[in-house]
């Protein structure tokens, strides 16, 4: 029998590194939040307001509006959406067993978008009492249902005997995205002017429409989905060995898959419903974290939530200042930063992707 080397310095380190990363990333998120409240189109800044408060001066009406009605809801939505996109990316990659599965890339985002557009355009046809009862939640829930249906369909198409084919998944995602896009296009033609305006803003992928109402409509579903996803760490680790082996080591695979699909659809759907198509957060964030601290989903999911929120807030700050006083849709910022990273993953993908 060979001698057993000292294990204290071996990969256990990766796990403790990933655990300390929780705190680093939480600190980074706090700093990003401060930056987001500080910087904006007006010269109202957080520090100036805090200095005023410290001297006992009341805030002006404008300052209160900027802080409480514009920047805070936008910040809250940025945190929720960023965390939702990154976690649903990480969970979907774990479920599909490959690092290229991102809800935005494989058509789940488009499916959720179709649901959202259906709700925006056809929602007015519902009876009034129903709109009164569920009006606020209608778009996120419809987006969730659209994302749920497309995730299940995608999994069915691309998985044979417990193994997922990357090529089939990506191709099926293209087909699914095209179909959802075409159906969405038809709906755009029958939309009236007001709906069209809603759709245009929404489709650009932006946090600009942030309001407390939107935060309240998407927040519960996002938090629920992230909470559900955070419980999947062990299961997704086991699933990396394939479905059959995951079952052999004691994982309830069917339940794991159901919860993962629900969490991905819920987080993606709610995020898409309030912010449109913001891409690449879901693929870039988990990938960077895997490079930094390994693929262990027990830490990857929470770290993805923290880093996703941070990056989206920072991207939003960039979107607000780069052509101020106008602002870029944030989807453009994340695409410009994220697409090259995606290509870079493809270049170095040896060892990362199941053949």
């Amino acid at each position: 029998m060979t001698a057993i080397p000292d294990t204290a310095t071996l990969p256990r380190d990766r796990l403790s590194r990933a655990r300390s990363l929780h705190w680093v990333l939480a600190g980074g998120l706090a700093l990003a939040c401060i930056a987001s409240l500080q910087i904006g189109a007006t010269d109202v800044t957080l520090f100036a307001m805090l200095a005023k408060l410290a001297q006992g001066e009341p805030l002006s009406h404008m300052e209160r509006v900027v802080l409480f009605d514009i920047r805070l809801p936008r910040l809250a939505m940025g945190v929720l959406v960023g965390a939702a996109l990154a976690v649903s990316g990480a969970a979907m990659q774990g479920l599909f067993r490959n690092p290229l599965a991102d809800p935005g890339i494989v058509g789940v985002g488009a499916g959720a978008g179709l649901g959202a557009i259906l709700a925006i355009v056809l929602g007015t046809l519902l009876p009034v009492w129903m709109i009164d009862r569920i009006g606020n939640q209608m778009v996120p829930v419809a987006a969730f249902l659209g994302g749920w249906g497309s995730t299940i369909l995608l999994y069915r198409v691309s998985t044979r005997q417990g193994q997922t084919s990357v090529a089939t998944m990506l191709l099926a995602g293209i087909a699914l995205g095209a179909l959802a896009g075409a159906l969405s296009g038809i709906l755009v033609y029958i939309a009236d002017d007001q709906q069209l305006r809603d759709l245009t803003f929404w489709g650009l992928g932006s946090l600009a429409g942030a309001s407390w109402a939107k935060v309240l409509s998407a927040g519960p579903l996002i938090l629920l989905s992230i909470g559900g996803a955070l419980m999947l760490g062990r299961g997704l680790n086991g699933l990396a060995l394939g479905e059959a082996t995951a079952a052999h080591i004691g994982i309830h695979v069917q339940r794991l898959k159901s919860v993962a699909i629900l969490a991905v659809a819920g987080a993606t759907g709610a995020a898409v419903a309030v912010s449109g198509g913001i891409g690449f957060i879901g693929i870039v964030v988990p990938h960077l974290l895997r490079l930094a601290s390994g693929p262990d989903h027990r830490t990857l999911l929470l770290n993805s939530a923290l880093l996703g929120a941070t990056l989206l807030i920072l991207a939003d700050v960039i979107a607000r200042v780069v052509i101020a006083p106008a602002e870029l849709p944030i989807g453009i910022v994340t695409a410009v930063l994220g697409a090259p990273v995606f290509l870079w993953i493809l270049l170095r993908r040896r060892g990362l992707v199941e053949p």
Binding site: A3, P5, L241
Partner: protein, 260 residues
């Protein structure tokens, strides 16, 4: 306490892969399943491990495996698949630790390193699993499986190693190493069922052999009684000669001795 498979039937579409095969394996023994390609060996193991839908019953330590939730099954038996692919760049040690998910060895953090040492790969602990050769990967997976059921007897009940062609991608030294590990697990009170291709290794290490052909059980018994000219020639549809020189009397089959 044993592992019984009763009248197992499996169909792939219209093709009947298993036509009512029974098998009983005892703790303390290595039970081998042999047979030609397509005879249903791996399918039988797939039923015993609840990987495939099947008709019939499988009793593990007296309980129908259909009544046991995955984590209870995982605490009683570990399964080595024929080939393993891994989706993310986990290290070797992290892969072996996955075996602890539900096994009762979960509270013993030293087990994964011991299991790696057992297969001679302790120095590979921090390598990336995906960079290993096929044979090394197979041994790491064996270490993962061993870690899952590290103690061959737990709470008075035997635990089981279910191995699907455990030596298929190994050189001869590691074939012997792996079969020795299986034998020692059995000698310590655990049970082993292995699907085997190599008849000589089967003769050397198995205590009981089931010979399958065309989805049915052709013979079942001690190697000396089952690995005979007649049975093997019928199973493999090829005239085979078995030699069993004294004093050991362990049969061996040389391709040289086969005549068409």
């Amino acid at each position: 306490m044993s592992l019984f498979a009763q009248d197992i039937r499996v169909s792939y579409g219209t093709r009947k892969a298993l036509r009512g095969v029974s098998l009983s394996a005892l703790p303390g023994e290595v039970t081998a399943i042999v047979g030609p390609n397509g005879s249903g060996k791996s399918t039988l193991l797939g039923a015993i491990t609840a990987t495939l839908p099947y008709q019939g019953r499988v009793l593990l330590n007296g309980r129908d495996i259909r009544d046991l939730p995955p984590w209870e099954l995982a605490a009683q038996r570990a399964v080595l698949p024929q080939a393993s692919r891994l989706a993310f760049p986990f290290t070797v040690l992290e892969v072996v630790r996955l075996g602890l998910q539900s096994g009762t060895a979960g509270n013993r953090p030293d087990v994964p390193m011991q299991a790696l040492a057992r297969v001679g790969l302790a120095q590979y602990a921090d390598r990336t699993f995906q960079d290993l050769s096929g044979g090394e990967a197979q041994r790491v997976m064996l270490a993962r499986v061993l870690a899952q059921v590290w103690a061959p007897v737990e709470g008075g009940q035997p635990r089981w190693l279910l191995l699907d062609e455990p030596v298929s991608s190994l050189d001869i030294a590691h074939q012997l190493q792996v079969m020795e590990i299986a034998r020692q697990f059995a000698r310590a009170g655990g049970g082993v069922i292995a699907v085997m291709h190599d008849l000589n290794l089967t003769a050397l290490y198995a205590d009981r052999v089931a010979v399958l052909a065309e989805g049915a059980r052709l013979a079942f018994g001690a190697p000396g009684a089952v690995l005979t000219d007649d049975i093997l020639s019928r199973a493999y549809r090829c005239a085979l000669r078995v030699s069993a020189p004294p004093p050991s009397g362990i049969p061996y089959i040389l391709p040289h001795a086969a005549s068409a």
